[in-house]
C-alpha cells in the first residue's frame, strides 16, 4: 500500500469510519450567509461520503461530491443512494466546476492530501462572493482514553520514528488558521471543535484501525499484522469500546 492509496481501504473506510459532530455542522452552516435550504455545497475529496451525507441530511439545495478514487467513490455512491447527492470523479487541484457555483466548499479529512496553493485557488474560484471554505478532521481523542493511549504506545514501540500524516491533531492543522489568513484568498477564519462519543463493538473498533492509511503504509504488512494482533489481544471479546472523537473544523470566508 502507498500513501494516499485508498483503493484497498475503501471497504474498511465505508464500514468503520465514524461521522463528525453534528453540532459542528450546525455551527458551520450558521456561518453561511445563505439559509441551509437555499445553500449549495461542494464536498471535495468526499471519499465514502461520510461528511457529504451529513450535509445532505440538512436539506441543502444542492450537494455535489467530488472524489478521485474509484473504490472510495463506489462505496460512497452505494451508501448515499437515498440522499440527494450527485457524484463526480475529480480532484481538488483541478475542480471541474464553474466559477461562483456554491456557497460552501468542504474538505473532510482530506485537505492534507491536496496541494495547498492549487487547492485554495480552486476553492476560492468556485465559491460565490462571501462563500466559505471548510476544512475539517475527526481524530480520536487520546487524552480521555486509556485504551487508545495503550495502543498508541505499542505503535510507538513498534516503530519509534513513525510520523502521523493525517491524524487531524498534527501536520497541516497546526498552522491552518495562519495559512488561510495569509493566503490573500480567505479571511475571517473561524476554528471550531466539538466532541462526540460513539460506542463501538470490538470488531468495529478493529475496523477503524484497518481504515487508517498512514499507519498501514509505514508499518508494512508484517508489523501491521502484529499491531492488529495486539489490539485484538488487549480488548476483551464482548467489550464495547467508547470512542471519543474530536471534530476540528476551520471555516474561512472568500475574499
Amino acid at each position: 500500500m502507498d500513501f494516499g492509496d485508498f483503493s484497498s481501504l475503501a471497504e474498511s473506510y465505508g464500514k468503520y469510519r465514524q461521522g463528525y459532530a453534528e453540532s459542528v455542522l450546525t455551527a458551520l452552516l450558521s456561518l453561511l450567509g445563505t439559509p441551509p435550504n437555499r445553500a449549495e455545497a461542494i464536498d471535495v475529496g468526499a471519499g465514502t461520503g461520510l461528511w457529504t451525507r451529513m450535509i445532505a441530511s440538512r436539506g441543502l439545495a444542492r450537494v455535489t461530491a467530488v472524489e478521485p478514487n474509484d473504490a472510495m467513490r463506489a462505496v460512497g455512491e452505494d451508501q448515499t443512494k437515498s440522499l440527494q447527492i450527485t457524484w463526480l470523479k475529480g480532484s481538488g487541484e483541478l475542480v471541474p466546476l464553474n466559477d461562483a457555483c456554491c456557497d460552501m466548499v468542504s474538505m473532510a479529512s482530506s485537505f492534507h492530501w491536496v496541494d495547498f496553493d492549487k487547492g485554495t485557488r480552486e476553492f476560492h474560484r468556485i465559491l460565490r462572493p462571501g462563500g466559505r471554505f471548510v476544512a475539517l478532521w475527526n481524530p480520536r481523542l487520546p487524552a480521555t482514553d486509556p485504551l487508545l493511549q495503550d495502543i498508541q504506545a505499542f505503535l510507538k514501540d513498534l516503530m519509534p520514528n513513525m510520523t502521523r500524516r493525517s491524524s487531524g491533531l498534527s501536520g497541516i492543522s497546526e498552522q491552518l488558521t495562519d495559512m488561510l489568513e495569509s493566503s490573500d484568498l480567505f479571511t475571517d477564519t473561524v476554528y471550531l471543535e466539538g466532541r462526540h462519543t460513539i460506542a463501538l463493538t470490538k470488531q468495529d473498533y478493529i475496523g477503524v484501525w484497518r481504515s487508517v492509511n498512514d499507519v498501514q503504509v509505514q508499518l508494512g504488512a508484517q508489523k501491521f499484522a502484529k499491531f492488529m494482533r495486539y489490539i485484538d489481544e488487549v480488548i476483551d471479546n464482548d467489550r464495547q469500546v467508547e470512542q471519543t472523537y474530536l471534530t476540528r473544523a476551520w471555516s474561512s470566508q472568500k475574499i
Binding site: 444542492r62 455535489t64 478521485p68 467513490r73 455512491e77 450527485t86 457524484w87 463526480l88 470523479k89 475529480g90 480532484s91 483541478l94 475542480v95 471541474p96 466546476l97 464553474n98 466559477d99 457555483c101 456554491c102 474560484r125
Partner: protein, 61 residues
C-alpha cells in the same frame, strides 16, 4: 438499455477541469467534450470522469 444521464443540476455547473470552459454533452456516447482543451471525458453510469489523465484526446477515435 438506456444510459444513465448526468444529473441536470450537476450538468449546469460542470466545466472542463483544465480550461474551466464549457463542455459539450454527447448523450449517445456518454461523453463530455472540451473543445478548448481538446479532451473528451467519459461518463460512466451517469458519473462524469473529470480527471485529465483519464480523458482521451479529441482527435483519437
Amino acid at each position: 438499455m438506456t444510459a444513465t444521464n448526468i444529473d441536470p443540476k450537476l450538468l449546469q455547473i460542470l466545466v472542463c477541469p483544465v480550461t474551466k470552459g464549457p463542455l459539450e454533452y454527447d448523450k449517445e456516447k456518454q461523453e463530455l467534450i472540451s473543445k478548448q482543451a481538446g479532451l473528451v471525458f467519459s461518463v460512466r453510469d451517469g458519473i462524469p470522469i473529470m480527471l485529465p489523465d483519464e480523458a482521451r484526446k479529441l482527435d483519437d477515435v
